[in-house]
C-alpha cells in the first residue's frame, strides 16, 4: 500500500484504493477524517490553529492550517471527488492539552472547540472522536475502506469505530 503523508497544517483527499493517508505528531493539532463508503473517497486535514480570521494572509496562502478553512477545504475536496455529504463518516483526533492550563493559550482546547464549531457550521457531526488528553497521536487512514487507526508514542494502536446512531442500532 502506498502512503500519502499529510504534513502539519496540510490536507489531502484521494480515491486511490491503494493509498494509506498518514499524518504524524498530532499534539495540540487536530486531524479530521472524512470518508464516503459508497464513492470510496477519503480525506484528511491536519490543522494547527482554530480561527483563520486572526490571520487572513496565512489563511489565504495556507487554508489547511486552520480549523474553519481547513475543514471547509476537506469537505469541498471530498465532494469534488464524488462524495455525497449525507453519506460522509466523520472522525477526529488530536487536540492534546497541557494539564491544568485553562487559559486562552490552551491551543489544544481551542482546537477542539473549533472542530465542533466548524463541523456544526457545515452540518456535520463527528461519528467518533479521540480528542483531548495529553499524548500526541499518529493517524493512518485507508482510503478504500475509511478505516482509521491511531497510534500513541507508547506504541499502542487502536482502530476508531463510529458511534452507532439510533437508526443503526434499530437495524442491528
Amino acid at each position: 500500500m502506498r502512503q500519502l503523508v499529510v504534513g502539519v497544517g496540510d490536507g489531502g483527499v484521494s480515491r486511490d484504493p491503494d493509498v494509506l493517508i498518514v499524518t504524524y505528531a498530532l499534539g495540540s493539532c487536530v486531524a479530521v477524517m472524512l470518508h464516503d463508503p459508497v464513492a470510496r473517497v477519503s480525506g484528511l486535514v491536519h490543522y494547527m490553529l482554530p480561527e483563520s480570521a486572526a490571520s487572513s494572509d496565512k489563511s489565504n496562502a495556507r487554508p489547511w492550517m486552520f480549523a474553519d478553512t481547513g475543514i471547509e477545504c476537506l469537505l469541498h475536496g471530498t465532494l469534488d471527488q464524488g462524495a455525497d455529504k449525507r453519506r460522509l463518516v466523520v472522525f477526529a483526533a488530536g487536540g492534546a492539552q497541557v494539564m491544568n492550563d485553562n487559559s486562552m493559550f490552551n491551543i489544544g482546547k481551542r482546537n477542539c472547540l473549533a472542530l465542533r464549531k466548524a463541523l456544526w457550521k457545515f452540518g456535520l457531526v463527528a461519528h467518533a472522536e479521540e480528542t483531548g488528553g495529553t499524548v500526541a497521536r499518529t493517524v493512518r487512514m485507508e482510503v478504500a475502506t475509511g478505516r482509521v487507526w491511531l497510534q500513541t508514542p507508547g506504541g499502542e494502536q487502536m482502530e476508531m469505530h463510529a458511534r452507532r446512531s439510533a437508526d443503526q442500532r434499530r437495524q442491528a
Binding site: 449525507r86 456544526w120 452540518g123 456535520l124 457531526v125 446512531s165 439510533a166 437508526d167 434499530r170
Partner: protein
Amino acid sequence: MALNIMIVDDSPVMRAFIRKVVGLTGLDVGEYYEAGDGEDALKSLKGRWVDLVLTDINMPNMNGEEFVRRMESDNLLRTIPVIVVSTDSSDCRVQQMLALGAKGYVCKPFLPEDLRDEVERVLGGAHDRAEL
C-alpha cells in the same frame, strides 16, 4: 415519505438551532412549521399534518406544559409525538411532561448529536407503531 416537523420556542435563534439539528438526522423533511408559544402552535396545527413536535416549556401566552396537555386532550393531536427541549432539568418537571404524554425530553444545553439521537429514537418508535 417526507416528514413535517413543528418547532415551538419563543426564541427565534433557538428554533433555528433545532431546525439545523433536525437536518443532521438525514430525515427527509417536507415542511418545517414554527411557533413562538403554545397558543400559536395549536392554531398552526389545525388542518396541518405534522409528524413531530419539538417544544420548549417556558414561553409566554401558553407554556409548553399547557400546550402538551391540550394536544393530549385532542384525539388527533395526541397521536403526534412530542419532544420537550427545555432548560428545566428538574426531576419533577421531566416526569411531569412525560406523564402528560411527551415521548422525549432533552435538557438545554445539549450537544447537537444528543438531540439528533432523541429525534431518531422517538420517530423510530412512531414508525414502529405505524407498521403494526
